[in-house]
Symmetry: C2
Subunit: 225 residues, 2 copies
DNA sequence: TGTACATCAGTGAACGCGCGTTCACTGATGTAC
DNA sequence: TGTACATCAGTGAACGCGCGTTCACTGATGTAC
């Protein structure tokens, strides 16, 4: 994106600008491939080919595959959290934006389009196994999400002290639902759909108070089945 | 477990029983290693060594690494969902068991002990990238969890029609919380702890009604910040 | 403005390594006579 | 009950393969004079 149009046709006309663009092309390819196939499944050969280059040039831009991963994580999270922010800023009804986000996130389209998936879930699976450097990029990106969502919760009336918690809670439920839905979709599509729909209903429609009752009320727990 | 005590010392005294036990030893090792390090990170060499054998014997027991993964998934899920069932059956206060499960699942101990982690979360990350065979094992195991939890929700007073949904919703929140907590823990332990604690509070203490208000009420959304 | 040279992005072959899988072989088990 | 032989779990070397990374080389960029 934002790429020089004659890039790929021209014979390396300029160097500094072109190199910066090529670097971006590698990061963009990494963003797509890491989300679609996972960090381990993407080789540098495939990665550089996807970006339009040969394998050897990789180390002119990055010191290691991990180094690239951290950069790619930052890039994806920046893109997505900026888009999220813009979504709210361009709408007058923030609460409608929330329901739209939830519907989109928990849609079968988002579940199935792994390569263009939200980083909060598609990068989370790899981040769990990654070292501190890559996790730092993930952690920072997740914080951006929490901040955007939290500030918008405040805008629609939540009190300050709860907004951050509500944002984390929402992300937890979105990520959990899509994780489980993706983990079963190849063998049991109905179950996968059910998970998405149940999570959506739990967030938007049903008052999920049962656990509250369990924790606070003492009654009725001994009238067993 | 249940292993022949002289196994490892004896010189292959019996074959059929011993072979069955050795097979179990490989599956057990796979269960631990796949959860701790992930499917891709565990080589058959390391796996067979951990089980006490040399690399070549693997194919006497399994037709492929995927085949083993499916068996290991089944084994872990059976063990865990049976233990879960037993936990409820041995207690007279099922609602106390629910809070205990939630506290344990969302503890820092469970987050950090990846090798002995609940399969619903530790196998989910790999299952997302696996093929139909392995996902079938994951899907079946997750169904077992939904059934155990759902039937216990009924026991503590939920109506039948909601119990299954409540079980799925609970699993979604537990898995989402531990996934995100693990994805950031190496770079930001406080954030990781906060995610666990927020999810716990969201399930057990705070009434997570904000989203309900957003969806159903029209008021107050335009009194922007 | 024109020439000489250092820089450095890109190439493609090569490095060592560990992967999943195969295979010839060993030797005790378990069976047939 | 005792001998002869098929079975098969375990061994360890080897297979081809793709991995992340290195390197000598190319040639245009960009700079110094």
């Amino acid at each position: 994106m934002l790429g020089n149009i004659i890039f790929g046709i021209s014979f390396m006309r300029i160097s500094k600008e072109q190199a910066a663009e090529n670097r971006r092309a590698i990061i963009d390819a990494a963003g797509r491939l890491f989300r679609a196939q996972g960090y381990d499944a993407v080789g540098l050969n495939e990665l550089m080919s996807a970006a339009g280059f040969t394998r050897g040039g990789f180390y002119n831009h990055f010191s290691s595959k991990d180094d690239l991963a951290a950069e790619a994580y930052r890039e994806i999270f920046d893109t997505y959290s900026n888009a999220l922010q813009a979504l709210f800023e361009n709408a007058d009804d923030a609460s409608a934006v929330f329901t739209e986000i939830i519907d989109t996130y928990l849609s079968t389209v988002h579940r199935d389009d792994v390569g263009n998936s939200c980083p909060t879930v598609s990068l989370a699976h790899d981040s769990v196994r990654q070292g501190e450097t890559v996790q730092k990029a993930f952690s920072h990106g997740l914080e951006q999400y929490v901040e955007v969502l939290g500030s918008q919760f405040v805008r629609v009336g939540a009190d300050m002290s709860r907004a951050r918690g509500d944002a984390i809670d929402l992300l937890v439920r979105l990520v959990g639902a899509v994780t489980l839905a993706r983990a079963v979709v190849k063998s049991n599509r109905e179950f996968s759909d059910e998970i998405l729909e149940t999570a959506r209903a739990g967030i938007l429609i049903r008052a999920p108070r049962l656990m509250l009752d369990l924790a606070c009320n003492d009654a009725s727990s001994n009238e067993s089945r």
